[in-house]
Subunit: 215 residues, 2 copies
């Protein structure tokens, strides 16, 4: 507990394993492939982590901590913007554009989200920790913004609205492969992401009855 940031061989193993786990899953990745990618020996995995499964848990922990650090949480601080519909629309638009940039930026390793989707599918036991410590605070923050946008929303309605907002961003991550196949693209380019974020921001604000946010 309270361990320092992993370095050296440990870090090399975590990042190498992370990329392979994200691409091929836990069972689809062999310890020999991990060791080769990390530039070490197979025995190093069991020496540093005890087992392949422990390494996987450590990778999940590492990704969650790192992704959490990148998450901007300064949106709730300037309270005066929440007083006008235009201000709230702007806050929501910035939230959406920010998430698109966070999730699809080049500096966030692209295998992070792929690994998390696999955790959804495989029902990784450590997923509950992630939900309670990362998703729940996020959900409540978004719900708070949405209830400022429309104070008549019930608790349940606000929850569904927060789901809807997250759904619009998650879709482009989870369905990346079929979307690219459908659009006959190689990858998301910058102009496509900007257009997508703009559409989502306009749609959500329109649905909430807010004025259209300026770009």
């Amino acid at each position: 507990m309270a361990e320092p940031e992993p370095t050296g061989t440990k870090l090399a193993l975590i990042t190498a394993a992370g990329e392979l786990f994200a691409e091929h899953g836990l069972e689809g990745t062999s310890v020999r492939a991990i060791a080769e990618k990390a530039g070490t020996n197979v025995a190093a995995i069991n020496y540093h982590f005890g087992s392949k499964e422990n390494l996987h848990a450590e990778v999940m922990r590492y990704v969650m901590l790192d992704a959490d650090l990148r998450r901007p949480s300064t949106l709730l601080q300037d309270e005066e913007r929440f007083n006008t519909p235009e201000g709230i629309a702007q806050v929501i638009a910035e939230l959406i554009h920010g998430r698109f940039e966070t999730y699809f930026s080049q500096d966030q390793p692209s295998w992070y989200s792929r690994l998390i989707v696999r955790a959804f599918l495989d029902r990784t036991p450590s997923l509950n920790v992630v939900v309670q410590q990362v998703f729940r605070p996020d959900q409540e923050a978004v719900m708070h913004i949405l209830r400022r946008a429309n104070p008549t929303l019930s608790e349940e309605e606000a929850c569904f609205w927060a789901f809807s907002l997250n759904a619009e961003i998650a879709f482009f991550e989870f369905c990346k492969t079929p979307i690219l196949l459908l659009l006959e693209k190689e990858s998301y380019d910058q102009s496509f992401l900007k257009a997508a974020a703009g559409h989502v921001a306009r749609m959500i604000t329109a649905a909430l009855g807010l004025p259209e946010p300026v770009e």
Copy 2:
């Protein structure tokens, strides 16, 4: 080609393998586990399908055909409903409620969608066929409805709107595990699904500037 519906041992192997592939992935499932669940022996897999990978491809084909049969496509037929905003709102609401019922109904085996999400993640080669033959017609049908709702939409905008609509339903499927953990539920119950579909229908129609659909 043009093979009959699989029966007997073949069908038993396909459904047994389907459930296991959906739950644990291709690499996470052993041929012995499949044979045991199907009530046969290991050799039957290679006898009937040639290899484990061929069986996996056959499972994908089977699921796609079966899921396609269940997909209702009669929404576009009653053209007169498209003439009023109320009519279009109603069509969209029925589309959304219909999808919730299709995806989360008891009679569609719950492992179907899980298998498809895995295909997204693993970039299964056969995915392109699915996209072109199932997703593209669906996308175009939804785009057609949306452009009737708002004729000023450009091609690109209509595409984004169709994404948004699908995103709202896909979210509840793809993020089922974290959603249930967040809400501290065991499974989606009927009243929750009805509430979710109602929210999505109201949100989409509101965003499109249509009148609120009646339940």
